[in-house]
Amino acid sequence: MNNPPYGPDDLKEAPLSGPDFLKLLSEERQRQYPGPPPFYDALSKGTLGREIVQLWVKNQYAYWDSDLVYSTAAIFCKTNEEDTRTHILRKMVCIEGKEIVNDINGWTTPAYEELWLRLGEALGVSRGEVAAWSTFTRTYFATSTLRLLSRYWEWTWLDGLAGMYAGDLFGRDYLGAAREGLERHYGLSGGALAFFDAYVGDVSEDIGWEEEALAYWACTRERQLTAARAFRNRLDIEYQMVLPLHAAASGTTPLQVPAGTKPGV
C-alpha cells in the first residue's frame, strides 16, 4: 500500500506473455504460501476440537454475509470492461443467492451466508450465537483491508481481479479440503455441506475466466507488477483471516472487536 511507484528501471523489461504471467502468479503463490493455513490443514485432517470448528463458523460469518459481497461489488463498480464485468455480476448473484434470478432460470440456491448458517446449525451453532459473535480482531483487520483495497484507489479493477483470482484459488483448494474433512471427521453430510458444494463449485468455474481475463488484460509490465502484488495481498488477507482460529486451537485466546463493531467502509 505504501510502496513508492515503479520507476523507469522497474518498467523497462517487456511484459510477460499471458501464459507466463499466470505461471508467475502460480510461482508467487507457491513461494509465499506453499501449503494451507495451519487451521485448514488441521480441519481437513480432523485434529480440531468441535468447539474450534464452531468458532470458525461464528467468526467467518461476517465475511460471507458482508465482506465478500462488498469487495466483489466494489470491483464490479470499477470494471469498465463488459465481458469481465458480466462474469463478476454472475459471481455477485452466486454470493447473494442464485434464487434471486429464479424467475429467469429456475435457480434455487440460497446465499452463501444462509448456507453458512445452515452449516453452523448442523454443527450445533444457533443463528443467534452467530449474530451475537464479535469477530476476532485479526480477522476483522484482514476483511477491513480487503474492503479498503477493493473499494478505493489502492487496487485498479485489474488488481481487484487478480485478488479475486487469488481468493478463488484459495477457496477452491482449502474449502474444498475443509468439506472433505467435515464429512470424514465431523460426521456432516448432505444439506449441512451445501455451502461447500455451492461455493467451491462456483469459484472453480470462475477460475477459468479469471485466468483468461488476467492473461489478456495484464498486458504491460506495470499492470503485471501491480496485479501480482494484489494477488499476493489477497493471499495474505486469506491467511490472516483464519490465523486467530489457529491461535485459538493452540490454546491462546485471540482478541475480539468490541460488540457492535461495524465494517469500516
Binding site: 466494489a74 464490479f76 458480466t86 448473484v93 435457480w107
Partner: protein, 246 residues
C-alpha cells in the same frame, strides 16, 4: 427562535413523495414529463446514427451508478433487489437468461443504423464531452457519497418518472412510431433496434424498477435530514437530466 416544523419533523411518506413531485412539476413549468412533443420530433436515419455515435463516446456507465447504489445499500432485502436490477440492466445473459446488458442493447440499435463494432469500440475510447464529464462525475459522486436511501431514491427522477400518468402511453406510442419509422428507413432488424426502448419502457419488470425508488423513499427516507438530502438530490438530478438548461 423556535425551529420550524420542517426542520424538526419528517413529512409523512405520502406527503414527502408529493413534495418531490411538486418540485418536478415546478421544474418542468407545470408540464408532464410525458407530454407530446417532448421527444423532439421525427429524425432521419442519419440523424439517429449521429446521435448514437455521440452516445457511445466515452462508453456506458450504467454499472457505475447502479453498482454504487448496490454497494451502499444497508438493508439486505433492498440490496438484493438492487442486485436483481443490476442483472436486468447488466445482462440477464450473465445468469443464462435471454437478454444482454443495456449497453449491448444500445449497440444492437446502433448496428441497425450502420455503426460497426469497430467504430463503437473506437468511440468508447474517446474522451466524453465536457458536459458529460461533469454531469456524470457529479452523478457518480452523488451515488457514492449520499446516504444509501437517497442514492437509491435518486432513481425517482428518471426511472421513477415512468410510474407517472402518461408514461405507459408515451412509451407505447414511442415504440410503435419507432417501428413504423424504422420500417420506412429500411432498417433490417426492427425488433433488435427497438429492444432497448422496450427494456426502458414501464411495462413488466421495468415498471417494478420504476416503483422501486418510490418504495425506498417512502420506507427509508424518513428523517428531516434525509428528506433534506433527498430534496437536494432530486432537484440536482432534474437539473442534470435537463441538459442545456444548466
Amino acid at each position: 427562535m423556535a425551529a420550524s416544523k420542517s426542520e424538526t419533523q419528517a413529512a409523512s411518506p405520502e406527503e414527502f413523495v408529493a413534495q418531490l413531485e411538486r418540485i418536478r412539476t415546478e421544474f418542468l413549468d407545470g408540464a408532464s414529463p410525458w407530454g407530446r412533443g417532448r421527444g423532439g420530433g421525427p429524425q432521419t436515419k442519419e440523424q439517429i446514427a449521429e446521435g448514437k455515435r455521440r452516445s457511445h463516446v466515452g462508453a456506458d456507465g450504467n454499472h457505475r451508478f447502479e453498482g454504487e447504489r448496490y454497494l451502499g445499500a444497508q438493508d439486505k432485502t433492498i440490496r438484493r433487489k438492487q442486485l436483481r436490477k443490476l442483472v436486468d440492466e447488466g445482462g440477464q445473459t450473465s445468469v443464462g437468461g435471454p437478454l444482454p446488458s443495456h449497453p449491448a442493447l444500445s449497440k444492437w440499435h446502433s448496428h441497425e443504423f450502420g455503426l460497426s463494432d469497430e467504430e463503437i469500440a473506437e468511440l468508447e475510447m474517446q474522451d466524453m464531452s465536457a458536459e458529460s464529464l461533469v454531469s456524470l462525475g457529479w452523478w457518480y459522486l452523488l451515488q457514492r457519497s449520499s446516504p444509501w436511501s437517497v442514492a437509491l431514491g435518486s432513481a425517482l427522477v428518471g426511472e421513477g418518472s415512468k410510474r407517472l400518468p402518461g408514461a405507459v402511453e408515451h412509451f407505447t406510442l414511442l415504440i410503435d412510431e419507432a417501428r413504423q419509422e424504422y420500417a420506412k428507413m429500411g432498417i433490417e432488424n426492427i425488433e433488435r433496434a427497438v429492444q432497448l426502448m422496450i427494456e426502458h419502457a414501464p411495462f413488466g419488470v421495468d415498471l417494478e424498477h420504476a416503483m422501486f425508488a418510490e418504495e425506498i423513499v417512502k420506507e427509508f427516507v424518513d428523517t428531516p435530514e434525509l428528506q433534506d438530502e433527498m430534496r437536494r438530490a432530486f432537484t440536482l438530478t432534474l437539473a442534470r437530466n435537463s441538459r442545456g438548461r444548466i
